[in-house]
């Protein structure tokens, strides 16, 4: 993909000004790091960090039948959402493979906000549009109108109050609410992708530079750092949160990924349900497992080959050096025999195999 084809978020100029290293990601030019992945990672684990997530997509689904119809398109149960609630969910193809993982928020009785992955906006929009049939729902892609920030870390509460006023209360976990920052209306959701307490905020794209600067300024005394995709990846992988396109794909179901908690098989009808019921009955043929390298080894990386009992058994979907644990961590789909925590496997790095041990998820637990 050439530079010309890659989009810039409304914060691109801010990233460049801060000296970020920029890389292409999901069709966007994004900061991978400002100073150091380790330092940014640590800021989120100990203080607070801010990420530009304006590349993520926002779709609005509305109409009297929106709730009922979306419930046939997504795996989790929309009926459980009160106005202001959000839930993690999947958009599946007919084979129950993952098109996208997303968060759906109920904005009003018959209006939903879907926050989707950057590289899947068009695909999600087209898929939903093609399945609208006679439902009468409206689907709008408002991605270009919105900027977004993820503000993550144990000090997020203090920063929230500094930004929105000490009398305001942060929304509860997975809730979303409107707040005012100067002249800008901001949707604040208590969600994140780091394993720390945090919020994700969405607002008009034009306001992005001023909101970004205000967050950094108000967060300065708390030790805030701008954080790039590098730290975003190490933070989420320590928690075993999946990355779509790597750990999730149309070839794998949410059950294979170990994310059945976000699939409501009791719902009478949704895309992929039949296949999932079968998998539930027989047990998934493959499972996404997490593991740690044992002893000294190079950091595991995506696509490195995995060996079980000396036989090739797949490849890593994700892998990195965990800054919190200072150990190599990774995930891969493994088939039979059913992989169990404690099983020793091997990862091939530049022709040499290194031992690793399958662990329970998440790999990082807050002490």
């Amino acid at each position: 993909m050439s530079d010309a084809a890659e989009k810039r978020t409304p914060l691109y100029g801010e990233h460049v000004r801060l000296g970020a290293r920029i890389i292409p990601f999901g069709g966007w030019l994004m900061p991978v790091q400002y100073s150091s992945i380790r330092e940014e990672h640590e800021a989120v684990r100990k203080d607070v960090g801010v990420f530009d997530i304006s590349h993520m997509g926002e779709l609005v689904v509305s109409g009297p039948a929106a709730s009922e119809w979306l419930n046939t398109m997504l795996t989790n149960n929309i009926a459980r959402l009160e106005v202001g609630d959000g839930q993690y969910t999947f958009l599946l193809n007919d084979e129950a493979g993952v098109i996208d993982d997303l968060i759906v928020y109920r904005i009003s009785d018959d209006k939903f906000l879907l926050v989707v992955n950057a590289a899947r906006v068009e695909e999600d929009f087209n898929w939903l549009g093609a399945h609208r049939a006679q439902s009468g729902v409206q689907i709008a892609n408002v991605s270009d109108s919105y900027a977004g920030l993820a503000i993550q870390g144990p000090k997020v509460g203090e920063l929230f109050h500094a930004l929105f006023g000490s009398e305001q209360e942060m929304p509860a976990r997975n809730r979303i609410a409107r707040f005012q920052l100067n002249a800008t209306e901001i949707l604040v959701a208590r969600t994140g992708y780091t394993g720390e307490d945090g919020i994700e905020v969405f607002f008009a794209a034009e306001a992005a530079p001023s909101v970004w600067r205000e967050v950094l300024q108000k967060g300065e005394s708390l030790g805030i750092r701008p954080c790039g995709l590098g730290a975003r990846d190490t933070l989420r992988l320590e928690m075993c949160y999946p990355l779509n396109g790597s750990d999730l794909s149309p070839e794998h179901t949410p059950l294979e990924a170990g994310l059945g908690f976000f699939v409501d098989l009791a719902k009478p009808n949704f895309t992929g349900r039949e296949k999932l019921l079968q998998q539930k009955e027989n047990g998934p043929a493959r499972r996404l497992v997490a593991f740690k390298m044992k002893g000294k080894s190079p950091p595991p990386r995506p696509h490195y080959r995995v060996f079980r009992a000396g036989k090739e058994a797949g490849e890593l979907t994700s892998g990195t050096l965990s800054p919190s644990l200072n150990e190599g961590i990774a995930m891969a789909y493994l088939a039979t025999p059913a992989p169990q925590p404690g099983e020793e496997i091997e990862i091939e790095v530049r022709g040499q195999r290194f031992p690793a041990v399958i662990e329970k998820k998440p790999l990082y637990k807050k002490t």
């Binding site: 150091s36 590098g230 950091p299 990195t320």
Partner: protein, 126 residues
């Protein structure tokens, strides 16, 4: 950017210190370590192994990526910096000192003439 005048350089950001007629000590430049940031693992060459000029002789890994390190000239490894096994970050903190990677016995010292001096390397970064 620290580019000491008494060293030689490659376009691929290795520095070379001559130690006698046919012995060189090699590491990566301050610029290279700043680009990599957070060195977390170094795969060292084996003592006694021979490498061609431009051959991959070591690998330096940051959190994000693995980068090959190339032999500047043909030669045989005399010594490697074992300290990097337990403390790879020495490459970040002291790239021209404690962060050295290996010492090479050079096959033909004439080949060293093709390397850049500090001014030439500085110009290549501009």
């Amino acid at each position: 950017m620290n580019i000491p005048d008494d060293l030689l350089y490659t376009e691929s950001h290795e520095w070379i210190r001559r130690e006698g007629d046919d012995k060189i000590r090699v590491g990566i430049t301050d610029h290279a370590q700043a680009e990599l940031t957070d060195v977390v693992y170094v795969e060292l060459p084996k003592t006694g192994a021979s490498y061609d000029a431009r051959g991959t002789i070591a690998v330096v890994e940051s959190v994000k990526a693995a980068s090959d390190i190339y032999a500047p000239v043909k030669g045989t490894v005399l010594e490697v910096n074992k300290a990097l096994e337990s403390n790879p970050a020495l490459i970040n903190t002291d790239p021209y000192g404690e962060g050295w990677i290996y010492v090479l016995q050079v096959e033909s010292p004439d080949q060293l003439k093709a390397l850049k001096d500090a001014a030439g390397y500085r110009a290549s970064l501009a």
